[in-house]
């Protein structure tokens, strides 16, 4: 309890454009372009994807920055 990291989950939505989401993943999470694109397509096709993980503080910071770009992200404690 409290040892496992937290994950950041991004959810698919019918509004955000694929190219925009990929650009945000590059800019906010530091992925290179191919990885950001692949992750965006995973979100789109699977409905959601884990895009980052780490300490609670890091996960909260990532979610906050994604929300600032209009991306729907949630925090999940790994169990």
């Amino acid at each position: 309890v409290g040892v496992l990291p937290w994950s950041v989950v991004v959810w698919n939505d019918p509004v955000n454009l694929v190219n925009y989401v990929a650009w945000v993943f590059e800019r906010v999470l530091g992925y290179d372009r191919p990885a950001a694109r692949a992750l965006t397509l995973r979100v789109h096709e699977d409905g959601k994807a884990v895009v980052a993980w780490g300490s609670r503080e890091k996960a909260e910071s990532d979610v906050k920055r994604l929300h600032a770009y209009g991306i729907w992200a949630t925090l999940e404690r790994m169990r």
């Binding site: 509004v15 454009l17 694109r37 929300h67 999940e76």
Partner: protein, 157 residues
């Protein structure tokens, strides 16, 4: 609608948007910024602008909103005001265009919430007003894609 932004060799874009369309964008961005400033953060239309940070833990979602909501909302408002001011220019450098992207997205997210948009389009009654807003939503989508192409150096994605 296309060709609103023309990438230039000196790191930016010429803005080719007709004057009347610039006025619509500027007015909408300024009005939305004003409304976000005045509305309470519990406003239902904020659903996509301040989404829940947890679907399974309401206490976590609430504390996250308490901690971050004002700062995120302030960022949305400042971004909208920048677009409203800068859309009148003839040229926009990439550094500023990058700031337009989340602001354009805020406008799209708000319109999508008002129109209750799903994969097939608006689910609200297709009134003339709704059709006008949906057209504007589509216009902003094209503008956002063009801005993305410029900030991405003209490369796909």
């Amino acid at each position: 609608v296309s060709g609103q932004l023309l990438e230039t060799l000196d790191g930016g874009a010429r803005i080719l948007i007709p004057e009347a369309e610039r006025e619509v964008i500027a007015e909408f961005a300024a009005d939305l910024a004003r409304w976000l400033q005045n509305a309470g953060s519990r406003e239902p239309f904020f659903y996509r602008l301040l989404p829940p940070a947890s679907l399974t833990d309401p206490a976590l979602a609430e504390s996250f909103r308490e901690l971050t909501g004002d700062e995120i909302l302030t960022g949305h408002i400042e971004g909208l005001r920048r677009v409203a001011a800068e859309i009148e220019a003839d040229f926009v450098p990439v550094s500023r265009l990058e700031g337009w992207l989340p602001a354009i997205n805020v406008m799209r997210l708000f319109l999508a919430t008002v129109l209750d948009l799903d994969e097939k389009g608006p689910t609200v009654t297709r009134t003339k007003e709704a059709e006008t807003l949906y057209s504007f939503f589509g216009y902003l989508s094209v503008l956002q894609e063009e801005a993305l192409a410029v900030v991405s150096g003209g490369q796909d994605g």
